[in-house]
């Protein structure tokens, strides 16, 4: 096969797969533009709306109070995610590059945090939090989010830090670097792809987190995006037009974060690892 036919095959296969992947998303778009009557007409999910209800987006924004919820979500994500990454990378640095006993033991200890079903944590957390007045307190919520995110953060960053050659550390120590500077000046910059990865995924998880928040935050003015979407899913029926419009609005920030960071980690990495 010539280079050209190879390229065509590659593109065709990939585009086909991408189209399949996009199909369900297309239904979200179409449904977001349908009226209730249109949706319930029982036509196919792919049928073109009879009347294009662009209004659904405005309604979803207003009724779902998405403006307020998204602002809260952004505040929480941009505070929690970097803070979490700092804590996680410090720990990952110690267990991969410093003299620490029982490295694997410590690592697995932190992994347990990922394994605990969140539902089981609700009762003790709620009890402690109400005793210490941490309900409706972002500080308290950060602690819980960071705590539950630590397992994943350390898992990812440990993996990447282990691939960084040891020679770097030795050279740094010879140059008179202390551990703190080794972490900040050398290891952390090299770990950028891992940081970007954790940032993207943790941002998304925090953005969509619902269970812990619903019990630890009872003040509506402090809640985040999922609360805006549930109001479209009523006891007796879901307003699918508004729900889908709301979903599309609410993924814009996560999509932007993804696009910015994925670009960053791909390009930013190119030279760093070449030894």
């Amino acid at each position: 096969m010539s280079r050209r036919t190879k390229k065509i095959c590659f593109y065709t296969a990939l585009t086909l797969l991408a189209l399949i992947w996009l199909l369900p998303v297309v239904t979200v778009f179409i449904t977001a533009l349908k009226s209730q009557a249109d949706f319930y007409s029982g036509e196919s999910l792919f049928s073109v709306p009879e009347v294009w209800k662009w209004n659904n987006f405005a309604d979803a924004w207003v009724k779902g109070r998405l403006g307020m919820y998204m602002r809260n979500g952004l505040i929480i994500c941009f505070m929690k995610v970097p803070l979490g990454i700092l804590v996680e990378s410090l720990a990952a640095f110690a267990i991969t590059r410093l003299k620490v006993k029982m490295k694997n033991g410590i690592f697995i200890f932190f992994l347990l945090g990922m394994m605990l079903p969140h539902q089981m944590a609700l009762i003790p957390l709620n009890r402690f939090f109400s005793q210490f007045g941490l309900i409706n307190n972002y500080g308290g919520l950060f602690l819980v989010y960071i705590g539950f995110g630590i397992g994943y953060g350390i898992l990812v960053m440990r993996g990447f830090m282990r691939t960084i050659p040891r020679e770097l550390d030795e050279a740094a120590y010879i140059d008179g670097c202390a551990e703190g500077r080794l972490y900040w000046n050398i290891i952390l910059p090299i770990t950028k792809p891992a940081i970007a990865t954790v940032f993207i995924i943790d941002f998304l998880n925090t953005w969509n987190e619902f269970l812990l928040q619903s019990i630890l935050v009872t003040d509506d003015a402090l809640r985040t995006v999922p609360n805006g979407l549930i109001s479209f899913m009523g006891e007796y029926g879901t307003n699918y037009g508004l729900l889908n419009a709301g979903v599309l609005i609410s993924i814009v920030p996560v999509l932007l974060v993804y696009l910015v960071f994925q670009n960053y980690f791909v390009e930013g990495m190119a030279g760093a690892v070449k030894q």
Partner: protein, 422 residues
Amino acid sequence: MKRTLCVLTGTAILASMLCGAAVTAAAEEPVEISFWSLAQRKDFEDEIIAAYMEENPNVTITPTYYSTDDIKANLKVAASSNTLPDMWYNWGGSLASYYPENGLTYDFTEYAKENGWEEKYLGSALELCTLEGQLCGIPQSIAMMAVWYRQDIFDQYGIEVPKTFEELEAACATLKENGVTPFATGGQFGWHVMRYIQDLLEYYAGAEEHDALGLMQSDWSSQEAVTKTFEKYKEWSDKGYFNEGFITEDPNDCRMYLYNGTCAMIIDSPTMAQQIVGAEQDPALYSYFAFPSETNEDGTGRMAAYVKMTQVNANVTDAQLAAITDFWSYYYDSERNAAFGSIEQPIALKGAELPESYALAEGIMELMDACGIYTQTDQALPAEVADQLFAAQDGIALGEIAPADAGTTVQNGIVTYQAENQ
């Protein structure tokens, strides 16, 4: 037997009182009340609360809204960590009984006597709010199950509203012959299919025996009526009387088959009236009738019903209690409450009229009074027993459980439950 439905008897011979007349919110010291409610009520409840607080500046009501699933779980979490709000929305039956059972709710029995609740609220609503021998909440609305149907489809095939069970079956046969599925249902959570089961059970077992089954006093595994019920359900399911794939259909989505005319009937509560309007359908095409389970002389049967209520924390102060009852009087006062048209109907007050948004359900209160009610099965049975019934429903439809064995499945659930809750 832990759950007892105490039947309130007799009508008190008291001077008739107007709504809320007994309550005076004279206290001037500030009163704070936390309130958990449902997310889809946020729009109008925020409005009502703001209006109420404007009139009563010393009262602060702080609402928190949850989805239907979250409020159930979060109330349990709050109960087990001692952080329940001052008042909260709840359904009736086994969902609500947990709280009076554990002494967490204010018992309104005495309060109701002193304040003439029997004059004010529907007897059936008070009855359904009485769990564990306590009047454990302020009644809000009552839901009774009727068969909602497409008038135009009935007309098209010359079907009359069935007056007997036999006529109902004949109607189903006619519909099916003409390519219309008789019933719409969604079995994903079990309770929607159960609406058909419980009406069949009412038909085959009769009122008294049906109640005994609901109270778990009668053995499900040995009752002929139970077997007949499941056999009929199996027959309907095999004949295609329910929509294709109904077993995992979402009960909220299955109304769609009525809207688009693939199905002709659905068992639903009066909120159906509001749903039809909300889904932008033509209301003129719809009406309802009582399921002909023939427990009454005219061929109708008792209607399955459940109540929605506000439960109040057992630890509220007198001032809080006064403000809470005053707030709910305001809430259900169509004159004072500007958002009245949005709240769920029919409300549990005597003599209340349905707002315009419920025009389709007109007359349903009278029908209920004529037919009588029984407690909806999943509210009569504890959740884990109801789940066994739901599994049996699936199993029968799929041919994995014989109708004759399904009663045993339910009875096993009862035995397990009773062993765990001695």
